[in-house]
């Protein structure tokens, strides 16, 4: 069965080979483990890009294959980031605070330790108490569980309510966007228990690995992100192939017809919505330790819209298209907005890419939608003359 799945989906092997090659080449060119041609910060950018590819393929499954234009998947990504960020921040602060207290003549009580850590973390929002949601922050295992459970449960409950009422199309997009907006507005508040607009920071410091260089950590995360992307790719490719894929694509193209065939459409949507939400959470948990900081600004609705744009430009309904779109557009975006692209002097006006990049992106999006609905991934059809 495994055999036939791979042989029927040769693009999976190609994708894995390309991803493996990419990761090895970056490793060999990095500062920590290679010749030093690629800076550590760029290794991190590439590692983060792999995480964006990961959420992009999840988005492709939910939108490109199942037809649900969710504008909530970046919220799940952010939740994953916050969940792992809480442990990173707690454990690291603990590692700094406890030795200090121990140096005093009277050994500190557990309460004093907790207060001191709380003071460090929540001082910026004028508080020292640990909010309820930090109850498990001292346990890496439990916070990792949160990375999966919180997006999964949120998607399950939200999806159940929305799909059961047969909310579809634009209305569903608006509803998911409202959910994302509500979440980011909540996180912006100082008493949200997650440090308001300061967000969580210092996430690049991995507790227990204080002696390890950031160069080395960046390589470990690069491999971790590549591995997660590879596993999710194989998993999703398996889900959208075969009979499940048939039903899911059927729902995208004609939901009512699938119902009259006897399928409970809502369960299928809920299944796809939830597994993609979980993968988005995992992507976020891998992304933010490489970014070093997460704040509510990251999960405003616009981020979820970008996600849809990447998938559309890369090519909906094919996983590698989504991954290519996310990598291509997000790297290009940081090149343009980071001042990498030279400004264009028109004499009467200078095009500053930091301002005009979004316009360019918007125009490209419209152009792709109108003239190349298959996106970048569609170019591969010219290479391989075989029906997809």
């Amino acid at each position: 069965m495994r055999q036939s799945f791979i042989s029927q989906n040769p693009s999976v092997l190609w994708f894995l080979a390309a991803l493996g090659l990419f990761t090895v080449v970056v490793t060999l060119m990095s500062e920590a483990t290679g010749v030093g041609l690629i800076s550590t910060s760029f290794v991190k950018t590439l590692g983060k890009t792999l995480c964006l590819c990961l959420i992009a393929i999840a988005m492709d499954v939910v939108w490109g294959y199942c037809g649900i234009l969710s504008l909530g998947h970046f919220a799940f990504f952010g939740i994953g980031g916050y969940a792992i960020g809480m442990w990173l921040m707690y454990a690291r602060t603990e590692a700094i605070v406890v030795p200090n207290l121990m140096a005093q003549t009277i050994p500190p009580t557990p309460q004093e330790i907790s207060d001191a850590i709380g003071n460090q973390i929540f001082g910026v929002v004028g508080s020292a108490e640990f909010p309820m949601i930090w109850a498990f922050a001292d346990s890496l295992f439990l916070q990792l569980l949160m990375v999966v459970l919180v997006p999964g449960l949120l998607a399950l409950v939200f999806g159940w309510l929305a799909f059961r009422s047969r909310v579809t199309g634009v209305y569903l997009s608006i509803l998911t966007q409202a959910m994302t907006l509500a979440l980011s507005l909540y996180l912006f508040q100082n008493d949200s228990g997650l440090r308001g607009n300061n967000g969580l920071s210092g996430l690049q410091n991995i507790p227990g690995y204080e002696e390890t260089s950031q160069a080395m950590i960046s390589i470990v995360f690069l491999w971790g992100s590549a591995l997660a992307l590879a596993l999710a790719y194989v998993f999703f490719a398996w889900v959208v192939s075969g009979k499940m894929g048939s039903v899911v694509k059927g729902i995208r193209d004609n939901e009512a017809r699938v119902r009259f065939l006897g399928y409970h459409v809502e369960s299928y949507k809920l299944f796809i919505f939830t597994i993609t939400a979980i993968v988005s959470g995992i992507a976020g948990a891998l992304y933010y330790p490489q970014a070093g900081i997460i704040n509510p600004g990251e999960l405003t609705p616009i981020a979820s819209i970008y996600l849809a744009v990447w998938v559309a430009i890369g090519g909906r309904g094919r996983l590698y298209g989504a991954a290519i779109g996310a990598a291509f557009v997000s790297l290009l975006s940081s090149w343009f907005t980071g001042g990498g692209a030279p400004n264009i002097n028109l004499g009467f006006y200078t095009i500053q890419w930091t301002d005009w990049w979004l316009v360019l992106l918007g125009v490209s999006f419209v152009a792709v939608t109108l003239f190349f609905p298959k996106g970048i991934g569609g170019l591969f059809d010219y290479l391989v003359r075989k029906p997809s």
Binding site: K243, S246, F260, Y268
Partner: protein, 249 residues
């Protein structure tokens, strides 16, 4: 004669307009029935009610030996009870192959996990091939459904119905847009299907209905106007006035 489906005193209003007006109609387990009637008579709406798409304001829809009511059930539950439906406008999954279309319709467990773990079996492949032969698409199994001709799409949709192995097939205007030869073939498929199950065909084309050679029900303004053999109903003066009088090919 036992009843498979009994529609009793059903009324549906759309914004005050009575599309179905205390309609009562019965079907036996293995019968072929044609429903005719002018545009807007409520033929499609009748199918919408039976398949759970439209909820009636009044009346009962009773199904099967166990006499269960279909009214509280969802579309997918009703389909799993054994009622298959072909739409007026052919609706197949155009992006997928003929084989995939049939495989999706094939009677098998319908839950997400069963479907996820589904493995192709020789038995299923045989059933798909048997149905494809029946509908004349055996050479087209690997083709994408969107490339099929209009008539072939209609047959594929009928094939999907057969694959569901329903006890009742509701077929809305199967011959629309078909050539004469295609119509003949469609009649044969439907007649054979009706040997083992109930088949209800809505059709405007009188020649087609004549070839089906079955009992005919005439609908008009949401209720039954006449019922019986084609000759019987076509000699009915009211039927001639409301339906046949309006030029029909």
């Amino acid at each position: 004669m036992s009843t498979l489906l009994e529609v009793d005193g059903v009324t549906v209003t759309f914004d005050g307009f009575r599309a179905i007006n205390s309609l009562s109609i019965q079907f036996a387990p293995a019968e072929l029935r044609a429903i005719i009637g002018p545009n807007g008579a409520g033929k499609t709406t009748f199918m919408d009610i039976v398949t759970g798409k439209t909820k009636p304001d009044e009346g009962h829809v009773i199904w099967g030996d166990r006499n269960i009511s279909l009214l509280g059930m969802s579309e997918s539950q009703i389909a799993r009870e054994g009622i298959g439906r072909k739409f007026q406008k052919p609706t197949v999954f155009e992006a997928q192959t003929v084989r995939q279309n049939l495989a999706m319709a094939l009677k098998n467990p319908r839950g997400p996990f069963a479907v996820l773990m589904h493995k192709k079996t020789p038995k299923n492949a045989e059933r798909i091939e048997a149905i494809a032969t029946e509908i004349g698409l055996i050479d087209q199994l690997a083709r994408v459904a969107g490339e099929l001709s209009h008539g072939q799409k209609q047959w594929l949709e009928i094939g999907m119905l057969l694959a569901q192995d329903p006890k009742l097939l509701l077929v809305d205007e199967p011959a629309a847009g078909m050539t004469v030869e295609e119509r003949e073939k469609t009649t044969d498929i439907l007649r054979r299907a009706a040997e083992t199950r109930a088949v209800v065909v809505v059709e405007h084309d009188m020649e087609f209905v004549r070839r089906l050679g079955c009992k005919v029900t005439v609908l008009h303004e949401g209720s039954v106007l006449a019922e019986g053999s084609l000759d019987h109903v076509t000699s009915n003066q009211t039927v001639i006035d409301v339906y046949l009088g309006r030029s029909h090919a």
